[in-house]
C-alpha cells in the first residue's frame, strides 16, 4: 500500500539513446495509472526503472516515502507482469505463482492456500500442476498475473500483458484485470500501446511520446481536451481529423480552404493567431449527416467528396476529402522538439491523420454514398485548435 512518484526521471542508455526524459508522474495509492504511447516511446523503460531493473540516469523515484533509486528489485516490493510473461519453464503453474512466497520463506501450507486463492481468482485451479509449455496463451498470461497478485506488493507493474491475446480474450481479460486491481487495491502502472485499453481501464492515463510525457489526465479529459496535437491524434479511434486552417481576424471563425466554420464564443487568448494559420481538429463523431437534421446554420457545416463508406452495423464511417490544405511538418512532440526521432514519429503519424482526407462517424441510417458530395453538420462547440508550430492546444476555455 503506497503511492509511487517519479520526479524528473530520465534514462539514457549506454548507447546514447535517451529513452525517457524528465518524466513526472504521481500515482496515488490504489490508483490505476495507464502509460500509453506508440512503440518505442519508452514505456517499458519507465516501468523497468520503477521495478529496479534499469538504472535511473536522472531524477528520483519514490515508493511511499522511500526513495528507491538505489534499491535492488527485491527491496522495492514491486510485482511485475512482463511484456512477454517470462514464466519459469521448469516450474509448474503452482510453483510459478508461489515462487515469490517461497523465496520470502512463507510456511508451505500458507503458500499453498495463497496460491490456490490466486488460482481461483484467475480460473487456473485445474491447471496448477501443468508446466507453462502445456498452457494456452491466455492461460500463460493469467499465470503471469497470478505471480503478481499472490504477493500483495506495494506496486503493480504491468507491461502490455494483453497485447498478444486474440481480440475476444483481450476484452475479457481487460475487465478481469481491472476487477482484480480494484480488489487488491494497489497502486498500478499499466503499460499499453492500445488506446482502448488505456481509456477503459485507467483511472488516469499518461500519454508518452519519444520519452516525454505529453499529458496525464482522466480518460475523458484526455479525449475532450487534448493538450497538444500528439495526444489529439493518438487518443480516439478513428483518429481526430486535423486540417490546416486560417483563423479569422476577429478570432470568431476559421477558414478551411473555401469553407468556413464559426467558432463558439468564449475561446480565450487567441489574439496571437488572428489572421494566421492554426490547426483545426474535429473528431469523426462530431460530424453528422446534414441530410437528416434540416439545414445546418451557416458556419456549422462542411462539404466534402465522399470516397468510401464503411458500414459497421451500429454506425457508418464516411471517408471524405476536403479542399483544405493538408497539414504537414508539425512538431508534435512539443517540448521534445530537439529530438529528431520524436519529431519524425509525430510527423509520420500526423501525416496520415492530417491529409485532406477525413472521417465522419454517422448514423447507420445515413444515405451518404461513395462518389457523391456530402454535407456534414459540425458540432463547432467541440472543435479543437492547435498552434501549428508548437503543436500545443490553443483557445481552450
Amino acid at each position: 500500500m503506497a503511492t509511487v512518484s517519479l520526479e524528473g526521471v530520465s534514462k539514457t542508455y549506454p548507447n546514447g539513446v535517451r529513452a525517457v526524459s524528465g518524466l513526472d508522474l504521481e500515482i496515488a495509492d490504489g490508483e490505476f495509472m495507464v502509460l500509453v504511447g506508440p512503440s518505442g516511446c519508452g514505456k517499458t523503460t519507465a516501468l523497468r526503472m520503477v521495478a529496479g531493473l534499469e538504472e535511473i540516469s536522472e531524477g528520483t523515484i519514490r515508493v511511499g516515502d522511500r526513495v528507491v533509486n538505489e534499491l535492488s528489485p527485491r527491496e522495492r516490493d514491486v510485482a511485475m507482469v512482463f511484456q512477454n510473461y517470462a514464466l519459469y519453464p521448469h516450474m509448474t503453474v503452482a510453483e510459478n505463482i508461489g515462487f515469490a512466497l517461497r523465496l520470502a520463506k512463507m510456511p508451505k501450507g500458507e503458500v499453498r492456500s495463497k496460491v490456490e486463492e490466486a488460482a481461483a481468482i484467475l480460473g487456473l485451479t485445474e491447471h496448477l500442476d501443468r508446466k507453462p509449455s502445456q498452457l494456452s496463451g491466455g492461460q500463460r498470461q493469467r499465470v503471469a498475473m497470478g505471480r503478481a497478485i499472490v504477493r500483495e506488493p506495494a506496486v503493480f507493474l504491468m507491461d502490455e500483458p494483453l497485447s498478444n491475446l486474440d481480440a475476444k480474450l483481450r476484452v475479457q481479460m481487460r475487465t478481469e484485470i481491472a476487477r482484480i486491481q480494484r480488489r487488491v487495491n494497489v497502486a498500478t502502472i499499466y503499460v499499453t500501446h492500445d488506446q482502448t485499453e488505456a481509456m477503459t481501464m485507467g483511472d488516469r492515463v499518461a500519454v508518452l511520446s519519444a520519452g516525454t510525457l505529453q499529458q496525464c489526465d482522466v480518460p475523458q479529459s484526455l479525449y475532450d481536451r487534448p493538450a497538444n496535437l500528439f495526444v489529439a491524434a493518438f487518443i480516439g479511434s478513428p483518429a481526430m481529423n486535423l486540417y490546416e486552417g486560417i483563423l479569422s481576424d476577429g478570432a470568431d471563425s476559421v477558414r478551411l480552404g473555401e469553407q468556413c466554420l464559426s467558432l463558439p464564443p468564449g475561446l480565450t487568448s487567441l489574439e496571437a493567431w488572428r489572421g494566421s494559420p492554426v490547426v483545426v481538429g474535429v473528431r469523426p463523431e462530431n460530424l453528422h449527416d446534414a441530410a437528416g437534421q434540416g439545414e445546418p446554420a451557416p458556419g456549422r457545416a462542411l462539404e466534402g467528396d465522399v470516397e468510401l463508406v464503411e458500414a459497421l452495423g451500429s454506425e457508418r464511417l464516411v471517408h471524405f476529402r476536403l479542399e483544405a490544405s493538408r497539414l504537414h511538418g508539425v512538431g508534435v512532440a512539443g517540448g521534445a522538439g530537439s529530438e529528431r526521432d520524436a519529431a519524425d514519429l509525430g510527423r509520420g503519424e500526423l501525416g496520415a491523420a492530417a491529409a485532406s482526407v477525413g472521417v465522419a462517424r454517422v448514423e447507420p441510417t445515413s444515405s451518404i454514398r461513395g462518389g457523391e458530395r456530402a454535407r456534414f453538420a459540425v458540432d463547432v462547440e467541440r472543435l479543437h485548435l492547435f498552434d501549428p508550430s508548437s503543436g500545443q492546444a490553443i483557445g481552450r476555455h
Binding site: A51, G52, L53, S72, P73, R74, V78, A79, M80, F82, Q83, N84, Y85, A86, L87, Y88, P89, H90, F99, A100, L103, A104, K131, P132, S133, Q134, L135, G137, R140, Q141, R147, R151, N164
Partner: protein, 284 residues
Amino acid sequence: MTGRLRMRVVVRETGFYLGVLVVIAIALFPFYWILRTSLESDGQVAAGVGGKNGLLPSHLTLSSYVNDFTQQHFLTPLVNSIVVALATTFVTIIVATLAGYALARLNIRGAGAILGFVLLAGFFPVLAMIGPLFLLLKDLGMLNSIYPLIVIYLVYTLPISTWLLRNFFAQIPRELEEAALVDGATRLQALVKVVAPVAVPGVFTAAILSFILAWNDFAFAVSFLETPSHFTAPLSIVTFGQSQFQVFYNRIDAAVVIISVPIAALVLILQRRIVSGLTAGSFR
C-alpha cells in the same frame, strides 16, 4: 492420384531410411568388430588375426574380460580414470557455469576479449604443453600421480565449457531472471533456482564433453605416469595384449568395450535432457 502420391512418399521414406541405415552401419562397424574380437578366445585370435574367422564370431566367450580383471589388474586403472574424469567434470561445471554466467550477463568491460583469450588457451597444442609440464611436475615431485592430471585437463575443458555455457546463458532471455529478481530473489538465487535449471541442457553438454576429454586422454597420461598402479585406463590397455609372440587383440578389445560403456551410457542417459526448446512455454 492419391495412390500415386502415397507411392512416392513411401519410396522417398524408404530411400531415406536406407541411407540412414548405411551411414549407421559404416559408423558402427568398427565398434562391432571390437565387440566381436573381445568375445573371442586367445586361441581364436591366434588362429585368425585379420578377420579370417569371418564376420560372425563362431564361439563366444567372456574369457578376455575375465582375464583383464584377474591377470591384468584392470580395476585399478579403471578407478583411477573414474576419479580423474569425475573430478575434472565436477570442477569444470562449477567454474564454467559461474564464469559463463558472468561473461553472458554482467556488464564486464572487455568480456569479448576475455572470452576470446579463454578460448585461445583451449587451442594450445597438447604436445607443446607436455615438455614444460613434465619439468614442472618433476620439480614439484608430482610425477606419477593422477591428481595433477585433473588440473591439466581443466586447461582444456574449462575454455570450451565456459564458452559453451556463456552462449547458453546468453540465449536465455534476461526477463527470466529479472522476473526472479522482482519476485524477491538475489542474483545468486536467480542463477541457481531459475537460470541454471533452464540451462541444464548446456550444463549436461559441457559435462559430457569434459568427461569424455578426461576419460579418453592418452598423451598426458603416458607422459606423466610411470607405474601401472597409477595408470589411467587408456594407458593401461596398451600394456595388455603384450606378449612376446603375438598381440592379444581380444584382451585389448575387451578393455576398450569396458571403457566405452560408461561414455555410451552417459550420452544415452543425458541426451534426453539435451532436448531443445528449453524455455518452451515461458514466453508467449
